[in-house]
Symmetry: C2
Subunit: 454 residues, 2 copies
């Protein structure tokens, strides 16, 4: 679908929240991502919008009737203050369920409130509902019913395939089907949560299987995307309508125990190698905010089959991609002691994904499977091609970066890494920039490794 650009994308628009005008801010007035926060650990959850270094409290705005009379704006604001799912839990679920119209109307209204030419009376009224990021604790943005992880990077699939199946790296279905599997929803955690090194069953060479802490703990840098309006069981979602069912995106780290995965994954796929934790960034960047950075879908090399008709749409080919840079950095415990900053390990881009978000979503519902608001889909590891003399590798996990440990990487502290060690902190960052538009950032997704509990 051709992205719609409007005044909210105007790169010259500035906010009276000064921190939002800094060129390296992830959250300028053109972004306005949604999240869930609380002020103190004992207070209730609220829906907020990030602007610069502040959080805008939507419940406060609504309670003071500052939002005007537009029906879509009001229904979106009502959804932001509804208790949905588990008792007492505010989440983005209800807003996601409303679909694109109310979300867009609310975005426009918030843009008017926050731009630097807003009337000063409005500005004063609104400013009372701004909180500093440092005053709030972020919570998971949504109550995820089902979480599905895809495998949409052909570079990742080929690199991993070579390691697990040297004779047969890329399976014959890969270019026809957006390969995916169901992940674990219960163990989704927010950025900042520590990750306990999991135990699991592994087998080395021809030794007997053993149970113990994983020796090859890895991260995977992914783009997560949340379902907005759902579909009913038994109905599919035509590819032309697919993006209308996507609310927005976040960063996702699909922590993986490679030794467990290698032993368990046949024939039913990854299970405990992944289900111990998956980290999400707190701010969900809407499809509207991403509009200036939509790009052509990955160009299939000559000789590759075209997608089957139900997965093919001109709009998707022209604008189905997203020019989003994804960066992984690592800081070891020793680096923290030495006061060394995290080292960037890789830099990739979601334009390199073989399948678009629309294709993944349409494929998912093509058998009539019902997607519910706030269901989470993810791209799989975003890796790009290996380019000689590139500043950074585009390989999005250590399995690929170190060729399963065969070629360890060296950190600035002199330490080597085949896989993650206890005390390592992994940080994902994602941002769109260039083409004369304001930078749109996803923020960060962090996690530190705790020792195994046995």
């Amino acid at each position: 679908m051709k992205p719609v650009l409007d005044e909210t994308h105007d790169p010259s628009a500035r906010s009276w929240v000064e921190s939002a005008n800094s060129p390296d801010s992830d959250f300028p007035i053109q972004n306005l991502p949604f999240g869930v926060f609380r002020r103190h650990s004992d207070s209730g959850a609220k829906v907020g919008v990030a602007i610069g270094d502040s959080v805008f409290d939507l419940a406060g705005l609504r309670n003071e009737n500052l939002l005007g009379n537009h029906a879509d704006v009001l229904s979106a604001a009502e959804a932001c203050t509804m208790v949905s799912q588990a008792p007492g839990a505010i989440s983005l679920n209800a807003l996601m369920a409303l679909g694109a119209g109310p979300r867009r109307a609310l975005r426009l209204r918030l843009f008017e409130f926050l731009r630097n030419d807003a009337p000063s009376s409005l500005r004063q009224a609104v400013a009372r509902h701004l909180l500093a990021h440092t005053e709030v604790e972020m919570l998971l943005p949504a109550v995820v019913g089902d979480y599905t992880d895809f495998y949409a990077s052909i570079f990742h699939a080929a690199n991993v395939g070579k390691l697990f199946r040297p004779d047969n790296p890329l399976l014959p279905n890969y270019k026809y089907i957006p390969i995916g599997y169901h992940g674990r929803a219960s163990s989704l955690v927010l950025s900042g949560a520590s990750i306990r090194r999991p135990c699991g069953q592994t087998r080395e060479a021809n030794a007997d299987p053993r149970f113990g802490p994983t020796k090859s703990l890895d991260y995977e840098v992914e783009v997560g995307f949340f379902v907005g309006r759902g579909n009913r069981l038994g109905e599919s979602i035509p590819i032309r309508e697919a993006e209308e069912h996507i609310f927005g995106i976040c960063l996702l780290n699909d922590w993986s125990a490679r030794d467990v995965q290698a032993w368990e994954y046949q024939p039913l796929g990854p299970f405990l190698a992944k289900s111990f934790a998956t980290s999400l960034s707190p701010w969900v960047v809407t499809m509207e905010a991403l509009a200036p950075f939509r790009a052509a879908a990955f160009e299939r090399p000559a000789g590759d089959p075209p997608p089957l008709p139900h997965l093919s749409d001109a709009g998707d080919r022209e604008f189905g991609g997203l020019d989003l840079t994804l960066e992984v950095s690592l800081q070891s415990a020793r680096m923290r002691e030495m006061i060394m900053p995290p080292a960037v390990l890789s830099r990739g881009n979601s334009r390199d994904l073989y399948w678009t978000m629309a294709q993944m979503l349409t494929h998912h519902a093509s058998n009539g499977c019902n997607l519910r608001p706030a269901d989470l889909l993810a791209s799989g590891t975003v890796s790009g091609p290996d380019i000689a003399h590139a500043e950074k590798s585009a390989r999005g996990c250590l399995l690929e970066l170190t060729s399963r440990g065969a070629n360890p990487i060296t950190l600035p502290s002199g330490e080597q890494r085949k896989f993650l060690e206890d005390g390592d902190e992994v940080t994902l960052r994602g941002f769109c920039e260039g083409s004369g538009f304001r930078r749109i950032g996803l923020g960060s997704c962090r996690g530190s490794i705790l020792p195994a509990s046995i």
Copy 2:
């Protein structure tokens, strides 16, 4: 864990609800399974207990303060009337979350109420809260967060393995790991819901892949079991404690599109071949009701490795199995026209599972994955060994029964079946009987096939 027998298992106990005393009733006073019902489509959901051909309304009992003062009974009854999860939705989730103590206390109290020597004043008061099964509509018993499907029958794994990988039927991990994968929670449906034939991508021989209605729709007869008390993220569940985390069991039909499965399943496992629908029976039979039918775990043939220590417990070996008969029957549209009863296709027993419920649950949490109350685990297809001259095959799906269509079965109407046809109705039944105890039934799990929507 050694099953505890008490007065509620006394086979001579009878109920004043006469239909419960029929020897072929699934729901004698010794059973008392929990479910969720409503009286009319416009009235609210309530938690009930099945007794003979009636449903006992727990909210009604609680509202009249008939339950006495026992703290566990009262907390269980309160949980049955709490609105949990989605707004307005009554489910078994809160009762499941309480763990085994309150559930057992409530069972004892209900047994006292319903036995035929209950004081007549109590009986009269209680009888007002009995409804005929025909007066109520059943609903899904729980709001399932995550659904996990195992592959615990070695006979099924070997039969299927032969068809998909003739050279390599049983993979080397099978005897070490209870193989499982995450299923789709959103498409869990209640017994009675019609199943729309799904579309999907398939590839025949060396033809080009195509998208269309599956040509090999199948059922799988499984035992589902619900998590009671959960575990926290990062904590495991020792095998000795595993059964304390299981609330009870139901029948589960894991509908499968075999042609879709064959093309999509590598390397990440089944996805759209399964996610279009999974049917559950409405009544959850508690672990207490099953106590008389616990049996030794499957005896591993000489030469098979013992389970690793964390999956091994003497109690599990001695009593980890369950002597539960599982029966599949099919009635085609033509059989219905000819007024022929459903034909039994197979009869298996969960004693033949290679892995016990406790082993599956302990394995699932062994990496610290948090299981939440009302999460659903399932056994995978329950198949048994092929026994010459057995009355019925113990193969629990058509893939196995017809060797992937190579040997069609013949129905009493003269029709042949390789896989399911539109209009076919599949009914699963499950029951424990024998050893001098009263029969404990799971009821039935039904579904009819609707034509594909394109």
